[in-house]
Every structure is written in structure tokens, then in C-alpha cells.
């Protein structure tokens, strides 16, 4: 069992719990049949832009 290790395998891969649970949720969604599958996948669109600020200046924006 991976959970018996000092840290769970996904955390040692640099993921947070959010990423991990999202990945799992996505896997479950892909188990759906059509047409529900594409509907569910379409619903979950991700789009935003992040910009880091250091000392009052924006760094290069990333997406």
C-alpha cells in the first residue's frame, strides 16, 4: 500500500491534494458513457490568467 509510506505517492510527485482529487474526479468522469461523457468533460473548462507580482512589478504572465 502506498499510503503506508511516509508520504503518499502523489505528494512526493509534487501534487497537492487538490490536484490529486481533481485527477481522480477526471478519471471517474471518463468512465461515463456518451453522450454524458462529453457533456461532463465540456462542463469542466479551465481558463484563467495568472500573473506573479514581485516587489510591485508584474512578472511575465503565464496561463
Amino acid at each position: 500500500m502506498a499510503s503506508n509510506a511516509a508520504v503518499p505517492f502523489w505528494r512526493s510527485a509534487g501534487m497537492t491534494y487538490i490536484t490529486y482529487s481533481n485527477l481522480c474526479a477526471n478519471l471517474v468522469r471518463q468512465c461515463l458513457k456518451e453522450p454524458y461523457k462529453s457533456e461532463a468533460l465540456n462542463r469542466e473548462k479551465v481558463h484563467f490568467s495568472v500573473s506573479q507580482w514581485v516587489d510591485g512589478k508584474p512578472q511575465k504572465p503565464s496561463n
Binding site: I18, K45, H47, V50
Partner: protein, 323 residues
Amino acid sequence: MAMAALRREGRRFAVPLISPLRSSLAPSEYETMEQAVSGARSISTQIVRNRMKSVRNIQKITKAMKMVAASKLRAIQTRAEKSRGLWQPFTALLGDTPSVDVKKNVIVTVSSDKGLCGGINSTSVKISRGLYKVNSGPEKESKYVILGEKAKAQLVRDSKKDIQLIITEWQKNPLNYTQVAVLADDILKNVEYDALRIVFNKFQSVVSFLPTTTTVLSPEVVEREAEAGGKLGELDSYEIEGGETKSEVLQNLTEFQFSCVMFNAVLENACSEQGARMSAMDSSSRNAGDMLDRLTLTYNRTRQASITTELIEIISGASALQG
């Protein structure tokens, strides 16, 4: 009275050099300055007509915006109310500790990307500034994480140095948990925190929003507070399944709590935004209606006055010929 106002307006455009001061007057001030203008006889009503047309167009636009906001509000309101079930268990378990005293504060300000929605963005900015002041002190640092264009515009002006992260354009698609989770993940990865304070407008009804803060503590702080007792002290009475240690569970819990609270905050804020936009647009279309009424009255009176003048002229001319 109104005639004099119009006369002056007509003259103003014809002879702008004579009275350059008057052009800066507000419409209500016209009526207080009654002066007969010599030599002005027939008045052009063109300007008033144009003004009426533009007011009517603006009214149409604001009415349409109100409709759009109302329909969007209905869709998002049910989602926001449902999403409250996501953070309530967390509050039951961990309690809400807005007054916790920690070193690294991160203030997450939720605002909208678009304007024309009353004062909801300024309220959340104001509350964020207040939190910043309350939590600042020696050996402490507070940072802002800003969601949305509008809070960015306000906070960039005076708190540039303390901004850590700005996230915009997150309202392009309909809001969903995946997106908010990715967003929360980005925030967690990019800031160091002892306490995350999320500021948003909680939807109360279409006309009232409560500026709200929710505090998410880091696992270390949760443990420290748990030792101090209180609500968090009860955590020890829970049994932990599996081989995970308490700190691991707490870390997972905090991360998940943050994403859930963010999801709710974002939805509530979007809901309040639409509500505020609705009432703002409602009052502006009412104002446009009032303005239009006043303008129509002025316009009709002037028209009537000029007709009367012409009639008098014709009649007196005719009677002069007869006599």
C-alpha cells in the same frame, strides 16, 4: 422658465464666444439663471431632440443589461446556494477563526472582471484593506492575492508592494469546480501562508450582500491552535483511518477546505455581482426615464411657445394691414 433655458442653449451653440462660462453649467443650473436673451426669436430644438434620443438609447441599453443580469442571476443563485453545503462541514469541524493571530497572512480578494455593478468590488477591497491593517505589525507580513480586474485596478494604486498574485479572466467560462480547484492549487503553490483570508461578497438577496471573510489555516497553525484548546481541540477525538499521520490528514484537509471555500466564495461573489448589476441597471434606467420626462416637457413647452409667438406675429401683422 424652460424657454429661457432653451433659448440660451440655442444661443450657446450659435455664439460660443460670447458666453464661454455657461457651457460648463449643469442642466439644473439653467433654470436658476433666468435672463431674457435679446434678439433670439425662433429657437432651434435640435439639441434637445438629440439629447432625448441619446437618453432613450442609454435607457434601452441599461434595460437590456438589467434583463441579462436577472437571467444570469437566477442560474447562478441556485448553484451558489447549493455550494454552501461544501464549506459548512468544514466550519462544523474546524470552526471559523477570523481573529487568529499568525505571522504570514494572505488576503485573497475576490472581485469581478466587469464593472457596472454598484459597489460590491469596492466593498471587498475596503474589507481587504481593513484586514491588512488589522493583521499588520512587527514581524508579520501580509500579502494580497487578487482575483478579478476590478480589485486589481483599485489595489494596484496603493498596495503594489504587497501583491503576490493576480488572477484574471476566470469568469469567461461558466464557473465550475475544476477551474476553481486549479486556481486554488495555483494559489497554494505560489504563496507561503499561515492563514488564508478570503474576502468576498456573500449573497443575501438581490439587493443586499454581506462582505464576508473566511479564514483557512495552514496545517501547522491548526495543530498549534488545537493544542491551545477550543473548537479545534476537539480534533483529537476523531479517529484517523489508514496509515496516515495526523499532520498529513490535516494538510489534505486544509487544501481541500481551501478549494471548497474558494468555490463557494467565487460563486457567491458572482451571484452578488449579478444582483448588484441588476439593481444598478434598474436605478439607472429609472433615472434615464426621469431625465427623458424632463426633457420632453421642456421640448414641448418650447415648441408651444414658438408656435404661439408665430401666431401672434401673423395676427398682429394682419390686423396692422387692416387698420
